[in-house]
């Protein structure tokens, strides 16, 4: 299940109970049809990836596994769960690891989470040839998507968009001074983003001085009296305003004056308050740049749009990789049939030779040897064509009926 199919409460239930439970992997491996298994649980999805001997039975068991652990009603579960098998499952795995299936498409955490889940599965020795191969390919797909498309390039949150814009203006933000006007939650959030960029100094101006002091403590900044705002403007490179005031707190005139006083050092004004704090005309002044919430939201929307376009490229990459995988999976399916076909005919040769032992005993050793060779070469010639055709068919999709026919014709499944 993931964020598209299951509401948060259900995902919560499941991931919580799985934490308390000792080891979902060992539980999964107890299911008889499971050969290999991996368990992925993040805040947006709970998934089981497994190689099984019998898909239908295994899926039924997985359902009861999730049923037992998640305390879910069958109806809830029916709605929330999705099942993919064969190539669909491969595709899903590739899409998940390359973050195409994420809530915020292109977010980077999911690949790490898949890797963690895989390592946990390896530690529990629940992976084998199939999962190893698939997961490694999934990591490569994710890497290709990351390097060949721009899916993860642009900011998709308002505060991150503000940081990106600031970088377009100042290059890097190291040593820059930020002035927070108003000490609301939004201001705090934006400030946290900026701290990660190596901002040099925080100034905080707030109507209630006590709250300014509080925030100044949190960010190791300096609290200003609200009346000292003009002076703070003069020192700041980036101003984030988010007060609840009804009128403009920072006017065009103030900005013009402060720019003059600071020898036109660039000033980036971010107005995240509604109603607005900064007079819109302030953005017309040379060397001052003003963005309000709507402007930033527009940047975000545009970036999301860009991501969707990139996602199409990424989907093409996934399809390409799935196609590569298909050949390999098909060959996995055809090998057991070929092996049992060979075993079958070798059994026939052996039993026929045993039957003929009485009259063959009359022959001398050389002739007997020749007869044996001839018998096996006739049989091998005969089964050569079916085997060759099977291998050929394994290169595309039409394999399954051939496998059925061969197993039927040679009665491979009966003793």
């Amino acid at each position: 299940m993931n964020h598209k199919t299951a509401p948060l409460e259900i995902r919560e239930k499941l991931s919580l109970s799985c934490w308390s439970n000792l080891n979902p992997l060992s539980e999964l491996m107890k299911i008889p049809q499971v050969k290999e298994a991996m368990y992925l649980s993040t805040c947006n999805r709970v998934e089981v990836l497994a190689d099984t001997t019998d898909t239908a039975d295994a899926v039924a068991n997985f359902r009861s596994f999730i049923f037992n652990h998640g305390n879910l009603s069958p109806e809830e579960m029916e709605k929330c769960l999705y099942v993919y098998s064969d190539l669909e499952a491969v595709k899903h795995l590739f899409r998940v690891s390359s973050s195409l299936d994420s809530l915020v498409m292109g977010e980077p955490q999911i690949l790490g989470q898949v890797k963690d889940a895989y390592h946990r599965a390896m530690e529990n020795k629940s992976t084998g040839m199939v999962l190893n191969k698939l997961l490694h390919q999934a990591f490569q797909v994710a890497k290709r998507v990351r390097t060949e498309t721009a899916i993860a390039n642009n900011a998709v949150s308002v505060s991150y968009a503000a940081v990106e814009l600031a970088k377009k203006i100042f290059g890097n933000l190291q040593g820059k001074t930020v002035l927070l006007v108003g000490a609301g939650e939004m201001a705090e959030l934006a400030a946290r983003h900026l701290i990660n960029q190596g901002i040099g100094r925080f100034l905080i101006a707030n109507r209630t001085y006590a709250r300014a002091l509080e925030l100044a403590d949190a960010f190791q900044g300096k609290a200003l009296e609200f009346n000292d705002l003009p002076q703070g403007l003069g020192d700041a490179d980036i101003v984030i305003s988010s007060t609840g005031a009804t009128g403009y707190i920072i006017t065009k005139e103030m900005v013009a004056k402060t720019l003059h006083g600071r020898k036109n050092r660039l000033l980036f004004l971010i107005d995240i308050a509604v109603p607005r704090d900064i007079e819109p005309e302030a953005g017309e002044i040379d060397n001052a740049f003003l963005y309000n919430v709507d402007d930033l939201q527009e940047v975000v929307d545009e970036n999301l749009q860009g991501r969707r376009q990139e996602a199409e490229k990424a989907e093409a990459i996934v399809e390409e990789e799935v196609a590569k995988c298909r050949t390999w999976i098909n060959s996995l399916q055809v090998v057991p049939t070929i092996v049992s076909l060979r075993e079958k005919v070798e059994g026939i040769i052996k039993s026929e030779l045993d039957k003929s032992a009485s009259w063959m005993g009359a022959l001398d050793a050389d002739t007997r040897k020749n007869v044996e060779i001839m018998a096996s070469s006739i049989v091998n010639k005969i089964i050569h064509y079916p085997i060759a055709s099977l291998k050929e068919e394994s290169q595309d999709d039409g394999l399954a009926p051939y496998l059925v026919v061969v197993r039927r014709l040679f009665k491979l499944d009966q003793g």
Binding site: K168, I169, G171, K263, N264, L266, G283, V299
Partner: protein, 270 residues
């Protein structure tokens, strides 16, 4: 030998121009990175060409107007490469490399037919004068390039438009700094060049100042740049205004060069 080097350098400038164009179209950093190294090679090979010319002729490699163009290309490229080391201004290469390539094409006209030097120019001061003045002008050209990019970027950020293109351009601060440093280093070079010229003029023409049109025009351009630097350093002009001013000043400088070619001047030799 110098001609061979010159031709190789020309080809390298061409390749890097193509490379930068490709990098802009496909928006791949790798293409720009490769182009940067090709440009670097072009710069070094052109340096060799200058050196070889110097050794073969035993004179300054910069004699006529065509050599001066080659020198402008060389200085612009060298300065850009130096900035590339310090700041992330890869995109500037896409502006510099085609300009350098075009200058080199024009400069290639002189290949094979060496100009005869008038007797009056047979002084060691002349090449110094030319090199300093041309170097100053090349840096001013680069300053106006950065200024133009600044204005584009400034407009994009102010209008909240064209973000995919804005992302390609360097940050405002970097562009402003390039503009500033180019002006700051170009100005003394031009000043020195003019002074050396006037010292030589005394020996050749008998007086430091001739009221020659080319001298007058250049002096006016010099005053313009002096004013710009003053505004920048003393008054605190920055960003938008300086970008405009440096572009206008450079257009004026270009105009002077062209105008003085169409007037009869003591100063036209080749």
């Amino acid at each position: 030998m110098d001609i061979l080097f010159f031709k190789i350098a020309l080809v390298a400038y061409f390749l890097s121009t193509v490379g930068y164009a490709v990098s802009l179209v496909v928006k791949k950093v790798l293409a720009a990175r490769v182009s940067m190294w090709i440009l670097c090679a072009a710069f070094l090979i052109q340096t060799l060409a200058f050196g070889a010319r110097c050794i073969e002729t035993g004179r300054s490699p910069i004699l006529g107007i065509y050599d001066a163009l080659g020198l402008i290309a060389w200085i612009m490229t060298g300065t850009y490469l130096a900035f590339q080391l310090k700041t992330k201004t890869r995109i500037l290469g896409a502006f510099v490399s085609p300009v350098a390539f075009l200058l080199m094409i024009v400069a290639s006209v002189r290949l094979g037919n060496d100009v005869a030097i008038p007797a009056v120019l047979q002084s060691s001061l002349v090449p110094v004068h030319i090199i300093l003045a041309v170097a100053g002008e090349a840096l001013f050209a680069l300053a106006s390039c950065a200024g133009a990019m600044y204005l584009v970027q400034d407009k994009l950020i102010k209008n909240k438009k064209g973000r995919s293109f804005s992302r390609l351009l360097p940050s405002l601060r970097d562009l402003d700094r390039i503009n500033h440093l180019c002006l700051l280093s170009g100005f003394p070079l031009l000043t020195l060049g003019v002074l050396v010229g006037s010292v030589w003029a005394r020996t050749a023409w008998g007086s430091n100042w001739q009221w020659d049109p080319k001298q007058l025009w250049t002096l006016m351009a010099w005053f313009l740049y002096a004013l710009l630097l003053h505004q920048r350093l003393a008054i605190g002009w920055r960003g938008h205004k300086t970008a405009w001013f440096s572009i206008l000043a450079f257009i004026f400088l270009l105009f002077c060069v062209i105008a003085s070619r169409f007037t009869t001047s003591l100063h036209s030799f080749v």
